[in-house]
Symmetry: C2
Amino acid sequence: MSRIRFALAQINPVVGDIAGNSALIRDAVRDAANAHASVVAFPEMALTGYPIEDLAFSPDFVDESEEGIRVLAGQLDADGSGDIAVIVGFVRRAATPSFGGAIAHNSLAVLFGGEVHSTYDKQHLPNYSVFDEERVFVPGHEPLALVLGGVKVGFLICEDLWRDEGPVETLAEQGLDVVVVINASPFDRTKDDNRFPLLVRRARQFSAPVAYVNLVGGQDDLVFDGDSAVVDASGTVCARAQRFESTILHHDVVGTAGGSGLDVRERTLNLLAPVITPDKDELDDIWAALVLGVRDYVTKNGFASVALGLSGGIDSAVCAVIAADAIGADRVFGVSMPSQWSSDHSQSDASDLANRIGCQYDVQPIGDLVGPFEQQLQLKGLAAENIQARARGMILMALSNQHGHLVLTTGNKSEIAVGYSTMYGDTVGGYAPLKDVPKTLVWELAEWRNRAATDNGEPAPIPQNSISKPPSAELRPGQTDQDSLPPYDVLDSILDRLIDRRESISTIVKAGFALELVSHIAHLVSISEWKRRQGAIGPRISRMAFGRERRLPITVRRSTL
Amino acid sequence: MSRIRFALAQINPVVGDIAGNSALIRDAVRDAANAHASVVAFPEMALTGYPIEDLAFSPDFVDESEEGIRVLAGQLDADGSGDIAVIVGFVRRAATPSFGGAIAHNSLAVLFGGEVHSTYDKQHLPNYSVFDEERVFVPGHEPLALVLGGVKVGFLICEDLWRDEGPVETLAEQGLDVVVVINASPFDRTKDDNRFPLLVRRARQFSAPVAYVNLVGGQDDLVFDGDSAVVDASGTVCARAQRFESTILHHDVVGTAGGSGLDVRERTLNLLAPVITPDKDELDDIWAALVLGVRDYVTKNGFASVALGLSGGIDSAVCAVIAADAIGADRVFGVSMPSQWSSDHSQSDASDLANRIGCQYDVQPIGDLVGPFEQQLQLKGLAAENIQARARGMILMALSNQHGHLVLTTGNKSEIAVGYSTMYGDTVGGYAPLKDVPKTLVWELAEWRNRAATDNGEPAPIPQNSISKPPSAELRPGQTDQDSLPPYDVLDSILDRLIDRRESISTIVKAGFALELVSHIAHLVSISEWKRRQGAIGPRISRMAFGRERRLPITVRRSTL
C-alpha cells in the first residue's frame, strides 16, 4: 500500500500560447511539488488552450503542440520535477486524418523523467451545444491506465466520462485506485446540477475516487469555472476547488499495486487539510462568470481599458460594475450621451453610478451630431430614432480609435432575442457582458450586487433609481420599452420556453400565454437573426446562448422555432 | 426489359417553407408528367430547404416535415400523379435521439399511390467545411433499393456517394439498373473538378447509371448550382442540366426486373433529345453564383430593393452590376457620398456607372455630417478617417430605415481577410456580394462582365476608369490601399496560401515571399477575426469562405494560422 499526493492544477491558459501556457504549467508543478505532490494533473488542452476550433487543422499548430509537450517534459526535468508524473492535455497528430480533414487527436500526455512517457487520445468527441469536436479532431481508440508509485491510475478526457459506453466501461473493469479526468468543461447556470451527480455515479461505478480537473478562465464566449474536485469511491465529495480562479487542489490517494510502475517521487507527507469549497448562491456564480469573461477578454486581447455608454439605465449600470469588478474602475471609461429626448434622470443616474464606482466619466451630448443627419436626409420616425443610437455608437468607436478602449455593448439577452436594438448603434462593441443575461436576471443581479456590497459594509454601486425606473431607449419623448414589448417578466418567460427549452408555440400557449403574443415574439426572434449574426460575442451562462450554441438560418420562411 | 423516364427536378426551395416548397414540387411533377416521366426525383431536403441547421432540433419542425410529406403524397395523387414515383428529400423523426440531442434523420421518401411508400435515411453525415450534419441529424443504417416499373433503383443521399464504405458498397453488390442520388451540394469554384470524376467512378463501380439531382438557389452564404446530371455505366455524361437555374432534366432508364415492383405509369415514350449543357468559363460560373446568391437573399427575405454606396471604385461598381443582374437596375439604389478627400473621379465614375446600368442614383456629401463629430470629439488620424466611413454607413442605414432597402456592403475577401475596413462604416449591411471574392478576382470579373456585354452587343457596364485606377479608401489626401498593403497580386497570393490552402508561414516563405511580409499579413488576418465575426454574410465561391467554413477563436496569442 502506498499513499501518493495528487495535485489538480486548475489553470487559466491562453488559446494558442504554447510558450506562455508551458510557463503556467511549470509554475504550478513547482507549487504542487512544494506541497509534496507526486502526480500533477492539468486540464484538457492545458498546453494549447481550449477550444482551439479550426486551429486543429493547422499542421504548424499541431507540430508546435507536439514539440511543445516534448520541450515541456525536458523543462520540468530541468526544473527538478522529473520524478513527478505530470498529466497535460495537448494536441497530438493522428496517424490517419479523418474524411473531413481533421489531422489531430485531443490528447493527454504523461510526462516523466524528462520525456513523454505515455499518451491517451480522447475517444468521445462532443459535437453538440457549443462543441465541434467531431469536426476538428480524430477520435482515439485505446484506453490508458498506468501505475504511478504503486497507484493504479486510469485516464479519461472530459466527454469520455459522460458516455456510458467505451472507455468508462473499460476502466471500470480494471480495479483502479483512481481515475483522473482532465476537462475543458464550460460553465453554465445548471452545470453543477449535472456534473456532480455524474462524478458520484462514476466513482461508484469505478469503485475508486474520480479526480476531476477543469480549466478556469474566459475564452471568447465561453467561461470555464474550474470546480475541480475529487469524489471518493462511496460518492462523497472529498475535495473541491474554489471556482472561477486559478488554484491547485491536493488529494492523497492510496495505491494497491505495491512498488510497481513509474517510480514517482514519494516524500514524507504532511497530513492534508481537506479543502471542500462550499456551493455559492447562483447569482454569485453568474456574477463571477460575467466578471471573469470580461476580465479575460480584455486582458488576453491586450486592452488597457474599456469604454461604454452610460444611459442611466440598468443594463449599462450593471455592465459598468461588472467591468469595474473585472479590471478596476480606473480602467473603465463611461460616457453619458444625452439627446433632447433624454430624461433628466438619465444623466443624473449615469453620473451617480460613475461616482459610486469611481470610473472615468464624460458627457457627450448628441444633439449637434444628429441634427445634420436629420436635416440632410430629412429623417423621420424609426430612421430618426436610429440615427441617435448610431451617433452614440460612432462616439464610442471614435473614443476607442483615439484611446484604445475596448467598447462594451450593453444589450441584454431579451433585447438581443427580439431584435430590440439599433444595428451599428447600441450594438456597437467588441464584447457584450449581458449577451446571455435576460432582462429580469439583469435586475436580479443588480439587486444581488448591491446587497453583496452592503453586506460587506461597502456602498451599493448601482443607483436604486436605475433599478426601479421603467426601462426606456429614450429615442422619442416618453418612450418606454413596454410600448412595443410585453412586460419583461412575461417576455422572459416566453423567451425561456421558446429559445432555451425549444418549446413549440402551442406548448407555450397551453402554459397560459396568449397565442397572438407568443407568435409575435417568435416572429421577432426569427427576423432578428441577421442582427445576432453581426453581434458582439459575450460570456455564456445558459445552456442556450446565442452564437455557436444556436445555429439558425437567417433566410427562413416561418416564425415558429 | 422496360424503359422508364426519370425526371431530375432541380428546384429552388426556401428553408422552412414546407407549404411553398410542396407547391414547387407539385408544379415540377406536373411538368415532368407532361414530358412522360414515370419517376421524378427531387434534391436532398427539397421539402424543407437546406441547410436547416438547428431547426433540425425543433420537434415542431420535424412534425411539420413528416406531416408535410404525407400531405404532399395525397396532393400528388389528387393532382393525378399518384402513379408516378416521386422521390423527395425531407426530415424524418429518428426512433432514438443522438447523445447530443439530434432527433431527426436527413431522409428521402418515395411517394406513390397517395402514400409514403418507403423512406431512406442518410448514413454518412458530413461534419466538415460548411456542414454540421453530425450535430443536427441522426445517421441511418439501412440501405434502400426498389423496383419501379421494372427498373431496379438504388437510393443514396449526397455524402453517401462520396464515401467508399457503407451504402455505396451495399448498392454496388445489388445489380441495379440505376442509382438515384439526391443532393444539396453547394457550389464552389472547384466543385466540378471533384463532382464529375466521382460520378464517373461510382457509375462504373455500380455498372449502372448514376442520376444525380441537386438543389439550386441561394441560402444565406451558400449557393447551390444544380448541375444535375446522369452519368451512364461506362462513365459517360449523358445528360446535364443548366446550372444556377430551376429546371428539369429527363433521362430514360432501361429496367431488367420485368414487370415487378411498383406499377408506375408507363406511357408511349417519345424519343428524348439529350440535354448536355456544356461547361462554361469559370468566371461565368462565379458571376452566376454571385448573382443568384444576391437575388435569393433579396427575394427570399422579402426586400423590394437594395442600396449601396458607390465610391467610383471597382468593388462598389461590381456589386452594383451584380445587384442589377440579380434583381434589375430599377431596384438598385446607388449613393455617392463624397468627402473633402474624394477625388473628382470618385463622383464622375460613380455617376458614369449609374448611367451605364440605369440604377437609381443619389449624391449625399458627408462633409456637413462628419464636421460636428470631428469638432466635438477633437478627432485626429485614424479616428477622423473612420468617422467618414461611419457617416457613410449611417447614411445607408438611414435610407434603409426610410425606404426598406437591403444594404449591400461592398468589401472584398482580401480586405476582409486583413481587416482593411472600418467597423460600422463600410462594413455596414445585410449582405456582402464580394465577401468571398479576392480583389484580383474582382478585377477579373469586372473585365469578364464588360467583355460579356460587348460580345453581346451591349454597352460595358463598368467604367474603365474604375477598373484601371489605383484602389483607394480616400479617407485622407492622396491615400491608396498600397500605402498600407502590398500590391494586391502579392497580397492575394499570400492570402490564398495562408487561408485557402492553410500553408504555414515557412512554406509560403519557401515559395518566394518575404518572411516579414508574410508574418505581417498573418498577424493582420489573426487580429481582424473580431471584425469578421460581426461581418455580413455573403455568397461562398471558394473552398475556404469566411464564416461557418473557417471557425477560429478571436482570442488567440499567435500570428500564424
